[in-house]
């Protein structure tokens, strides 16, 4: 049967002729489920630098704050001493003056 042979020949030649592109394997791998612990490792890799940077910023900020606080405390204590000294002088003066006036 010639037509049957023709069909068989056509079936032999029938092909889409599609080749995989260079990125096909990458697309397959992208679909695969990630191994256990991958998410944690990925998150750690992503979060760790940010955490370290944030910690350093906070540390610098804390240092800066503590220095300025120390300075404020130091200056305020100095002025308190000054004030105390001034106060005692004026008290002395007042007492002395008062005595004179009296």
């Amino acid at each position: 049967m010639n037509r049957l042979d023709d069909v068989r020949r056509s079936l032999r030649d029938r092909h889409a002729g599609i080749e995989p592109d260079a990125l096909f394997a990458d697309r397959v791998v992208a679909r695969l489920p990630r191994p256990e612990g991958w998410t944690i490792a990925w998150a750690a890799r992503r979060i760790l630098p940010v955490s370290v940077a944030l910690a350093m910023v906070l540390m610098v900020a804390a240092l800066a704050t503590s220095r300025s606080t120390n300075r404020t405390i130091a200056s305020s204590s100095t002025s308190a001493i000054d004030r105390a000294q001034t106060g005692s002088d004026s008290l002395e003066w007042l007492l002395e003056g008062g005595e004179e006036r009296r």
Partner: protein, 187 residues
């Protein structure tokens, strides 16, 4: 046909290839996706060639090929290495092609290069093979494309799909009978 070249140390390139492949499979089983990507690159052409027998559109062929390797990744532990990996991946691909054909999820578009429909009264006109295939059941199409398209014997089909020889013979007989009927109706 595979060419085998002897090497200086008495091994063959085929042995070496099998060794590399076995290592890639072992690493893939351990979760190494880079090794699996290499395995995909080794077999992707064969899988595309096979899927291209059954489907005409690039999306369909790519979908089947991706699904083949995705299934292979999930079921790799079931590969027993008694036969070459290529046979195993071929079986996975064929089963997916058959399931897709049977599900009839997409209508196949005929190739632009195929001949036009044969007029009913002209037996000498070229045969529109796409139209003939469209009139067959997915099972008939599948078997005919393996028998006449790939040129496999009944035994080869049985081995590669995992069906019994009798099952393939019955399917092949029915498919050929149906094809003859369709041809008679056309002419």
């Amino acid at each position: 046909m595979e060419l085998v070249f002897p090497t200086a140390i008495g091994m063959t390139l085929t042995d070496d290839r099998a060794g590399v492949e076995a290592e890639l499979i072992a690493r893939s089983l351990g979760g190494d996706q880079v090794a699996f990507a290499s395995l995909v690159r080794r077999h992707q052409s064969r899988v595309f060639l096979l899927a291209g027998r059954f489907f005409r559109r690039r999306e369909d062929v790519e979908d089947v090929a991706q699904e083949t390797f995705f299934t292979a990744w999930r079921r790799l532990a079931t590969y027993e290495a008694r036969a070459p990996f290529e046979h195993w991946i071929t079986r996975v691909c064929l089963r997916l092609c058959y399931a897709r054909l049977a599900a009839g999820r997409r209508r196949e578009e005929p190739l632009a290069s195929t001949s036009l429909a044969a007029p009913h009264h002209d037996p000498t006109a070229p045969i529109d093979v796409e139209r003939l295939l469209a009139r067959l059941t997915p099972s008939d199409r599948f078997v005919l494309l393996l028998l006449d398209g790939e040129g496999w014997s009944v035994k080869e089909i049985a081995e590669r799909i995992g069906w019994t020889v009798t099952n393939v013979k019955v399917r092949a007989f029915r498919a050929r009978r149906r094809l003859r009927q369709v041809l008679e109706e056309e002419s």
